[in-house]
Amino acid sequence: MIVLKYIAFALTSIIVGLLFMGLGRKYSARIHRRYGPPFWQSYLDVIKLFSKTSISHHWVMDFGIMMGLAGILATIAFLPIGPFHLFNSMNGNIIIMLYFMTIGYLGMAMGVSASGNPNSAIGIARALTLMLGYEIPFVIVVISLIFINKSSLLSVMVANQAGGFLHWNMIRYPLGFIAAEMALQGMLGEKPFDAMIAPSEIASGPMVELSGKMMGLGFLQHAAQIFLETAIITSLFLGGSSNVWIFFLKMFVLYLVSLSINAVSARFKFENAVKWFWKWPMALSLAQLLIVIL
């Protein structure tokens, strides 16, 4: 039973994540005044990728890329998706989730650096440095929310925001919300924080040697990651929802905000991005924390 439920969770996250990507591409195209691809384009891309042959330099590459997807999907097992959840006692345990996500990053990093291309290693080095930048403000925000709710469960935080728009943490703790939103931009790797991908500079960084189904698995990981990260912010600040469709809608709105910034920004040098993260979101999150504990 729990296995079937888990598979439903995993498939939902992938399908919804891919849908978001497709809709997002259409949205960006409209900002650019283009027609844009159909919204189901991401599904076509994934199936095409799985229908191509692929190369691997090393068994670690295959292993790492599977581990990357597995890490994100395993995190989703602990995520409350609207009214649904897998485990009662660990329903959205944010500390587990923050750590479990890293196994996804580690898997991906291991897989791509096994390919032996220096571009991929440079990309990962940038991504990890950037991670040190955005994780810290984000974690400070999470800590202040844990203090407020006296629990590290997302489900409890969602329950505490019940009762309409004005009870959302977004309204009650606006500084923290802005800091988290800035961190989300870095987490999703959208511009101006996409120095780790940088196609024209380091040939798409981590993905440089991925082909066929390896790329396909990476694509799925990215889709699941979009789903996971927007869902976490939705539960933390936008009051979650007991209706799964409204929940998805809130997540999508967050994603669109991120894409809107992406569509009109240029790329930050990643050292500057780290500095920026340690300046503005950090200041906002610390201010929020001080407001909470004083």
Binding site: A10, T53, H58, M66, S115, T129, M131, L132, E271, V274
Partner: protein, 630 residues
């Protein structure tokens, strides 16, 4: 019963001393045998809590020097797990020392060290503790430097810092004994005595506890003493580094749990009239901050280091920082988490160091940028290292996660937001340097000269396999370790946390480690099915890479050149350039001034016989006058 262990250890060491020539491999087999015997004996001690042995050594007037040995829950636990880990490492040493030249002294001293290790954990009074501590310091000093110039410098550095700590400790012990209201050498009595004295004179008692803290922190490389592991762990013999980093660095924290933590807990319980922060004494809070600073500083140094053993040593410093912070929170979760992290760190860090020793055994190389791509050649070593870094980064299915999670629970439920943030910074940074090590050593391009490297022999693989088993086992079933720790926590006077074999219950949330593990396996199976659905993959050569259309062989590109590993995080390090330069000026100025003062002192004694003899006479006169006045 306990003394017999030391007798047998000494006899074995003596046998090891006289073995030589062709039979020298026997010395290391003997070492493994000794450790097996010790582990079995220690296992049989389980449950004899409160058992003591007293030996009268000598009496001077009304001073009786006695040796008190006994089995406490805390001591037994530490003695048992350190001996087991030492046993695992010793299997590696058998193979490693077959062709070593200078292993004669190492083997014998290490046997004595294994005995001193147990003596530290079994001693009940300060004199015994101090003797065992000294034996441990001296033997380890000679093991680190078996006659090599480079390691001699490192060992001296280590030894000086240890000496500093030892002096602090002996002053503290003398003070405890000479103070009329405490006047005891027994450890348990001195705790309650000092706690009572705290109400009389907080500053005096605080200073004494700080003396002990200095001694313990010097051994454990906590903040002001943090640089020694990077020197000593890196230069020590490769098979001794796991022991040094896994076990020896924990003695300080053992001392903290033995003496300082019960002291603070007693203060907390029987009303504390000093300053408190969130319910814990101010001193304890400050020491928790020292731990957090150690964690962050160790992480930063690990990120910017290029030598693989140095990187692992800095990582040890960072992990000691976590444990220190957890322990000084003084809550049940914190102390449990701290002790649990000590155990976990001992397991994963000795596995990591064993894997690094295996790499060095085959390649004789320590600089990470000269290695690369070894995962194909040494799969077992690679897997050990991989699981080790997953555990060290605190990622769920491995053991490091459980203890870090407990420390977080303690920090969050005790309302320490800034400490939590510091620990989190260190933890995210840990991911950076661990990945860097994994990439530079095992992934990327395999240098041409290591084309024929083979996996290490079976005898070296056994400890790695055991290490992996322990890491996964404790990660999935933390309850088996947490229950004995719960007993220790109870004996310290705290309420032990509620655990089952797989689930940890805490104030904020619970974690079922088995479910976490199953979820990961399930997800991996899911990803694997997707992988199988895709079209066939084929293998290509490492140099068949995207190079913007240029065939790398055409322009003389070699695998060494195509491996990105040197200055991996240089842009990150450059972020702190201004701070670093400022620090360097400060240290340079410090060294210059110290040298100047030292030189002027030296010149007083060396410039002329007149001046130096007058100084000598003046000194003696001063001593005599001061002696009369007092």
């Amino acid at each position: 019963m306990i003394a017999n262990l030391f007798l047998i250890t000494l006899i074995t060491a003596f046998v090891g001393l006289i073995i030589g020539g062709k039979l020298k491999w026997l010395r290391w087999v003997l070492f493994t045998g000794l450790l097996t015997f010790l582990s079995i004996r220690l296992w049989s001690f389980y449950g004899n809590w409160g058992y003591t042995e007293v030996y009268k050594v000598l009496s001077l007037g009304n001073l009786n020097f006695t040796i008190h040995l006994g089995i406490t829950k805390l001591g037994w636990f530490f003695a048992f797990f350190t001996t087991i880990i030492n046993l695992i490492i010793s299997i590696f040493s058998i193979q490693k020392n077959l062709r070593e030249k200078d292993e004669w002294g190492i083997g014998v001293l290490w046997m004595i060290l294994a005995g001193a290790n147990i003596a530290i954990f079994m001693s009940l009074d300060w004199i015994t503790f101090f003797i065992a501590w000294e034996v441990m310091t001296w033997t380890s000093y000679f093991i680190i430097t078996p006659g090599w110039k480079k390691s001699f410098k490192a060992a001296n550095y280590y030894f000086l810092l240890s000496m500093f700590g030892t002096y602090a400790m002996i002053i503290g012990i003398w003070w405890l004994f000479s103070n009329p209201s405490i006047h005891t050498l027994n450890i348990a009595q001195s705790i309650s005595g000092l706690a009572r004295y705290w109400h009389v004179s907080p500053w005096g008692a605080g200073t004494v506890s700080l003396l002990f803290v200095t001694a313990f922190f010097a051994k454990s490389a906590v903040f002001p003493f943090h640089p020694w592991p990077a020197e000593a762990h890196a230069e020590a013999p490769d098979d001794f580094s796991p022991y040094l980093s896994g076990i020896m660095i924990k003695y300080g924290l053992y001392g903290v749990v033995l003496f300082i933590v019960p002291l603070f807990i007693q203060l907390q319980k029987f009303g504390f009239n000093g300053a408190t922060v969130h319910g814990i004494p101010l001193l304890s809070y400050l020491l928790a901050w020292v731990g957090a600073i150690t964690a962050v500083w160790g992480t930063y140094k690990a990120i910017v280091s290029n030598d693989m053993k140095r990187l692992a040593a800095w990582s040890t410093v960072a992990n000691i920082g976590y444990a220190t912070t957890g322990i000084f929170i003084l809550s049940s979760n914190g102390v449990t988490g701290g002790i649990f992290h000590i155990v976990n760190h001992a397991i994963f860090k000795s596995s990591i160091f064993v894997a690094l020793a295996a790499v060095k055994y085959r390649t004789h190389e320590r600089d990470m940028h000269r290695l690369g791509g070894l995962a194909t050649k040494m799969p077992i070593t690679f897997l050990t290292f991989l699981l080790g870094i997953i555990a060290a980064a605190g990622i769920p299915p491995m053991n490091g996660y459980a203890s870090k999670w407990l420390i977080y629970q303690a920090l969050l439920s005790g309302k320490f937001p800034f400490l939590t943030t510091m620990i989190f910074i260190a933890s995210t940074g840990a991911f950076m340097y661990l990945y860097r090590a994994l990439h530079s050593i095992f992934l990327g391009q395999l240098p041409e000269k290591y084309k024929n490297v083979k996996e290490v022999p079976v005898l070296m693989q056994i400890p790695m396999l055991l290490g992996m088993l322990l890491m996964i086992g404790i990660g999935v079933f933390p309850g088996y370790v947490l229950r004995p720790i719960g007993q220790i926590v109870k004996s310290l006077g705290l309420v032990p946390m509620h655990v089952t074999n797989t689930t940890m219950f805490a104030f904020l949330s619970n974690v079922n480690a088995l479910v976490v593990f199953n979820m990961f396996s399930l997800s991996f199976a899911f990803a694997f099915v997707l992988y199988l659905l895709g079209k066939r993959r084929h293998h290509v050569e490492p140099l068949d890479n995207y190079t913007a259309g240029q065939n790398p062989k055409d322009f003389g590109m070699t695998t060494e050149m195509y491996h990105f590993a040197l200055k991996f995080y240089e842009p990150f390090a450059n972020l702190f350039k201004s701070v670093r330069i400022g620090m360097r000026y400060f240290y340079d100025a410090l060294v210059r001034d110290a040298n100047l003062i030292g030189k002027s002192f030296a010149s007083m004694f060396t410039s002329s016989t007149m001046v130096s003899s007058m100084l000598f006479i003046g000194g003696i006169v001063t001593v005599i006058i001061v002696g009369w006045l007092l």
